[in-house]
Amino acid sequence: MNRTYELMFIVRPDMAEEDLDKLISTLETVVSTSGGTVKSVERMGKRRLAYTVRRFHDGVYVLLTVEGSGGLVHELERRLRVTEPVIKFLSVRIDEEQKRLAKIKAIRDARKKAPATPAPAAEGGETAPATA
């Protein structure tokens, strides 16, 4: 069962750029060996933390989007936990949300193509995606 997950993690701000590259590449190899795919790696750069984490006031955010099974995420989380420079991480499953958004978008596009529908009909339809 392949699902899409988003792993966001924070590494300590004093970490060298090469070490971060190395960390990301090891994570990528972990993903590929356990039968998943890395969809994207986004470095969000240095950001101020909202509260102190391990006595750090800021950290480097990295966002990793992967596709794979739950076991893969489990393994990635384990690795992040034992990696010293990683101070915090969060993994979120996003495929259901993406599906929901795609559905809403499809409905909206369909409505845009048929602008002949009167206003009350459009209003009635608007409430549907919100409650769905």
């Binding site: 966001m8 924070i10 950001r47 101020r48 933390l49 909202a50 509260y51 102190t52 984490v53 006031h57 950290g59 966002l63 915090k88 991480f89 969060l90 979120v92 949300e97 929901r100 958004l101 809403i104 608007e126 995606p129 919100a130 409650t131």
Partner: protein
């Protein structure tokens, strides 16, 4: 009691919230009347604007924990999630919003308590 403590935070938060969108500032004035104790019998003293759900009106579907700008509008100065009765967000959206805020807190994008730092 709870209302009394909460109203100052809501009003204090108003300038921050008003930056993002336009329809909020005029509605902020009469709001401290809140729920109970409104002057009903002696005729309406003031006009209370109908609160609307920002997400329904602006058609924002994705409430994501990464969108700190958006989430910060619904977090009080103290770091608390602002209740629906103050913001006017509809129930389905408030549910998503609170989930997103909690995720953002977890990854240190939003504070658990107070405007940190």
């Amino acid at each position: 009691m709870a209302d009394e403590t909460r109203t100052p935070t809501a009003t204090a938060e108003a300038p921050a919230a008003s930056e993002g969108h336009t329809q909020r500032p005029p509605s902020r004035g009469p709001r401290p009347g809140g729920g109970p104790g409104g002057p009903r019998e002696g005729g309406r003293k003031y006009f209370r604007r109908k609160k609307v759900c920002k997400f329904c009106v602006e058609k924002i579907e994705s409430i994501n924990y990464k969108d700190v700008r958006l989430l910060a509008q619904f977090v009080a100065e103290s770091g608390k999630i602002v209740p629906r009765r103050l913001t006017g967000v509809c129930t389905p959206h408030q549910r998503r919003l609170s989930c997103a805020i909690k995720q953002a807190r977890n990854i240190a994008l939003l504070p658990f308590a107070g405007r940190a730092m």
